[in-house]
Symmetry: C2
Subunit: 108 residues, 2 copies
């Protein structure tokens, strides 16, 4: 199992139109470095996996169970398992790091 990753060596996975992710997986967790094109959207969805997110750059409108905040500058979020959530990038796009526990098997 890898212990070190350079994102340049990870093939991007398309999550939604204009939204791609580079995935690194541990045993209990998975990291997903997500790049959003300007105004790109991840529609409302949910999954049993717990999710925490961290803003790397740009801005995101992030909605958790109907509550929306604009994230920027190292903002962090917690999405409990099973709770509906969505994201929409600002006009400059965004980069965010998501962590999931357990790892999402469909992303491996």
């Amino acid at each position: 199992m890898n212990r070190f990753w350079n994102p340049e060596d990870i093939a991007p996975k398309v999550l939604a139109p204009g939204v791609t992710a580079k995935i690194a997986s541990g045993e209990r967790m998975m990291l997903s470095l997500v790049t959003f094109a300007p105004d790109a959207v991840v529609p409302t969805h949910s999954h049993p996996h717990e999710q925490m997110g961290f803003m790397v750059s740009g801005t995101l409108e992030f909605t958790i169970a109907g509550e929306t905040r604009v994230l920027s500058g190292s903002g962090m979020v917690f999405v409990p398992g099973g709770v509906p959530h969505a994201a929409k990038a600002g006009p400059g796009g965004a980069v965010a790091l998501d962590a999931f526990s357990p790892p999402r098997e469909e992303y491996r």
Copy 2:
């Protein structure tokens, strides 16, 4: 339980000389936004919690079980639970995001 955090609102916790962290905790995971002063060191240690890390800025010499790599530019690492690891910042310091599962109770 918080779902959104602005790091400006989180009091920093001192992890080692020149190393501070801002902590956000979920149920299965905890995020720790770690700032390293130039050349600051986290000595070799281990914990039963799984750790994954992401480089936000700067450079870190990161050692996992005796294997050392220099991390920069969105590099990611996986430290299985119980495995010894250490970090040393470069001359410009560093910022990294660590994720732990389960959350580290001593950091709450």
